[in-house]
Symmetry: none
Subunit: 400 residues, 2 copies
C-alpha cells in the first residue's frame, strides 16, 4: 500500500478549514549576514512561528532545484516524481492557454532557416510585438486550410505555445528541434504506432507555417518541443475529499490549480487583493491556496530589498487571515529563490504550521535558521498536505 492510497482511504469531509499561504521563492541566502526573511520585519509571522510548529521542507529531494510545477504539486500532496508535467503543458498553463483533455500542446520558437538549414533557433529574438503579429497572421491563414484546430499563442520574444485540438491526438512525439544551429529543420517522429497520425499532422503544420512565413526576414520557420497532452491527475476532491480554491493571479499557478480540481478565485494585482478575495469566498471552500508571487519575482531579479518589502507586506496581512479563524494555517514557499542566485534554488523552504493541535517547539521567529530547529525537522514537502489534513482532523486512524 502506498501513501497516496492510504490518504485517499483515510481522508474525510469535515467543516474544518485549511489555509495554505505560499510565498513563492521565499527561502533565501544571506547578504550581509541575513536572508531576506531574516531582514524583513515580520512580527506576526514570528509570533505564529513561536506558537506553532516549524521545519524545513525539501520540495522534491535534497539538492534538487524544482520548477514551479513539481514544487507546487508536492505542496499539494502529489508525489512530484510520480506526477510529471510535460514542459508543453506547463508553458501552456503559464501562458494562460485554456487546455482541454483532448488537446495537445507544445512549446515553440520562431526560428530562421536558409534552404532548410536552421541558422538561428531564436530568430534573432524578435521583439514580442512582432511575435504577436506573426501568431495572428498564422492563426488566420491556417484557419482556411486545416480540418483540425490549431492555434498559436504568443509568448515573449521568439517563444510561443501551440495548441492542437481534435480527436485521437497523441503526445508520444519526439521534439521537432535540431537542438543546434546549422542543422537541417527537424520533423517530429512518432514514438508509437498510434502517434503516427499526430506526427503527420504536426509535420504538415510546420510546413504550412514555414510557407506562410516565407517572406518574413528572420522568423521564417518554427521549431517545436515538449509535446504534452493534458495530464491525468486525480483531483484534490478525489484524493483528499477537499473542496479547494486557489487565490492566485498568475496564469501558471491558476492553471496548475485548475488541473487538480481547484476553483480559481481571481484576485487583483496587489497583495491585499489576495486577502480580500480570501475573505469574500471564505465560507464556500475548506481549502485555500493563497499565492504571493512577487517574493519569487524579486528573487529572480536579484532585488533583495524589494523581496524584503513583499515579505513585510504579506506579514501585515496575517492578522486578517487569523481573524477568519482557520483550523490550520500553513505559511511556506514552494521553493527557494535567493536574490543572491537570481533564480530558483535547491535550498529547503521555511515552513510554519499553526493550529490548536500544533506542538510548540523551540523556534522563536520565522526564518530559515530558526525553522531548522523546529519540531518538524527537515522533511519532504509532500508531507505538508497530510500534516494539514491531520491538524484539521480530516484523517481517520490507519489500522486498528
Amino acid at each position: 500500500m502506498d501513501r497516496e492510497t492510504i490518504l485517499r482511504d483515510l481522508s474525510q469531509k469535515t467543516d474544518s478549514k485549511i489555509i495554505l499561504l505560499v510565498m513563492d521563492g521565499l527561502g533565501g541566502l544571506p547578504i550581509n549576514g541575513k536572508t531576506e526573511l531574516e531582514t524583513a520585519k515580520t512580527p506576526h509571522l514570528d509570533e505564529l512561528a513561536a506558537k506553532g510548529t516549524c521545519g524545513l521542507s525539501d520540495p522534491v529531494s535534497m539538492g534538487i532545484t524544482p520548477g514551479s510545477g513539481p514544487a507546487h504539486l508536492s505542496l499539494f500532496g502529489y508525489d512530484p516524481l510520480k506526477y510529471i508535467l510535460g514542459r508543453g503543458i506547463l508553458e501552456a498553463l503559464g501562458s494562460g492557454v485554456d487546455v482541454g483533455p483532448k488537446d495537445l500542446v507544445a512549446r515553440g520558437n520562431f526560428a530562421t532557416h536558409k534552404n532548410g538549414i536552421i541558422i538561428d533557433r531564436r530568430a534573432g529574438r524578435i521583439p514580442t510585438p512582432e511575435n504577436e503579429i506573426l501568431c495572428r497572421k498564422i492563426n488566420s491563414s491556417l484557419k482556411q486550410r486545416k480540418e483540425i484546430g490549431v492555434k498559436l499563442f504568443p509568448g515573449k520574444e521568439h517563444r510561443f505555445v501551440v495548441k492542437f485540438s481534435g480527436e485521437g491526438l497523441s503526445d508520444a512525439l519526439t521534439d521537432a528541434d535540431p537542438q543546434k544551429e546549422n542543422k537541417p529543420r527537424e520533423k517530429t517522429q512518432a514514438l508509437t504506432g498510434e502517434a503516427q497520425h499526430t506526427a503527420d499532422l504536426v509535420n504538415t503544420f510546420m510546413d504550412d507555417v514555414t510557407e506562410i512565413l516565407e517572406n518574413s526576414p528572420k522568423a521564417n520557420t518554427v521549431i517545436l518541443r515538449g509535446f504534452s497532452k493534458y495530464p491525468t491527475i486525480p483531483s484534490m476532491q478525489e484524493l483528499f475529499h477537499l473542496t479547494p480554491a486557489a487565490v492566485a493571479n498568475y496564469p501558471m499557478y491558476k492553471g496548475l490549480a485548475r488541473l487538480i480540481g481547484m476553483e480559481i478565485l481571481d484576485a487583483g494585482q496587489e497583495i491585499q487583493d489576495l486577502f480580500d478575495t480570501l475573505e469574500k469566498y471564505y465560507s464556500d471552500f475548506d481549502f485555500f491556496y493563497v499565492h504571493v508571487k512577487k517574493t519569487d519575482s524579486y528573487g529572480e531579479d536579484g532585488n533583495f530589498g524589494e523581496k524584503v518589502k513583499v515579505i513585510e507586506k504579506t506579514d501585515a496581512e496575517i492578522p486578517r487571515i487569523l481573524s477568519l479563524k482557520p483550523d490550520v494555517l500553513v505559511v511556506t514557499s514552494d521553493h527557494s529563490t535567493p536574490s543572491l542566485l537570481k533564480g530558483h534554488s535547491w535550498h529547503p523552504n521555511p515552513f510554519l504550521l499553526f493550529s490548536s493541535t500544533s506542538q510548540p517547539d523551540l523556534v522563536s521567529a520565522f526564518s530559515e535558521r530558526e525553522c531548522s530547529r523546529g519540531y518538524l525537522g527537515r522533511f519532504q514537502a509532500v508531507n505538508a498536505l497530510p500534516l494539514m489534513l491531520a491538524h484539521a482532523q480530516k484523517l481517520q486512524k490507519f489500522g486498528a
Copy 2:
C-alpha cells in the same frame, strides 16, 4: 535491494542484549504549557536522555494517526505499509483469541432483523453478559451440526469475534454487512474462485446462527466483516536473528508479539511486575519488548494527571533496568495519545536510545520538545530496530 533484505543479510547473532521499553501513547500535547511527559518528574529518563541520543519518530508517516497494530510493527522493524494486518485478526488478537495459521477470523456484531431487513446493526447494544450467553448457546448448538470448526468469542456489548478452523479457508471475502440500517441481510461474496467454498461456509453459518437466535428479541442475527487469515509475516528470528521476548499484559500486544515470533512472558497487572518478569527471564533472550499500557489508557480517557503518574512510576523502574546492563536501551512510544485529544494522534514519538556507542546530543531532558533537537532528528520509526541492532553490534558492514 530493499531495507528488509539488507537487514536480513547483515544481522548476526551475538550475546548483546536489547531492551525496548514502549510507553504506549506516551507523546502528548501541552495543557497549561506542558505535556504529560514535561510535567512528570523523570530524573532517570532525563539523565538517560542527556547521556544518550534522542529524536522524534513518525510511526507510519507524517500526519498519519496509526492504530496499535501498524505503530508496533513499525517499532519492531516491519514496514507498516507492507505488512497490513486485517481488522479481524487485530480484533481477534485484542480479544485474546488464539489464532492459528489455517484459521479465518472476522469481527461480528449481533444485530436485529425483521423479515430479513436489518433494523439495528448493533442489536440495541445488548449488555455484555447477554452477549456471553448468546455466544455459549451458539457455540454449543453449532457443534452438533458442523463438520468445520466455528467458535464465537464474546466482546463488549454487541461485538464478538468468530473463528473458523479447517482446511482451505480463504479471506478473499466481502463484508457480510449491509453497512446501513433498513437494508436486507447481506451475504459474503467470494472475491476469487478459490474463496467460493469459504463464502458458502460463512453464509451457511450466518443462516444457522440466525435460526438459532430465532426467538431472541433483539440479537436475532449477525453481521460479519474484516475477514482475515493469520497473516504471513517473517519472524524477528528470521529477519534479524534475534531471540525475542515480550513482557506485556494486554492481549492485543501479546498477540501481535506472538505473530512475529516473540516468546510471551506474562507479567502481572502492575508496572513493577513487568520489570520483575524482565529480571527473571533476562538471561534467556537477547531482545525484550516491555510494554507499559496505561500511559495510553489514561491518554484515551483524557486523564492528564494519571498519565503523568504512570510516567513517573515507569521512571522509577529505570535503575532496575540499568542494573541489568543491557547493551542497548530504547525508551519511546508506539504513537502519541495526548490527553487533550483523548485518542491516538499523528504527533511523533519522543525517542531515546542509550548505549555505550550512542552519541550525546544537545538534549538535556526526556520530552517531546527536547527530543526535537536530538541527534536523530525527525525519523521514521521503522528505523528504530536497525538502530538498536547497530548499537548492539549486531549488524555487519554493508558492502566492501
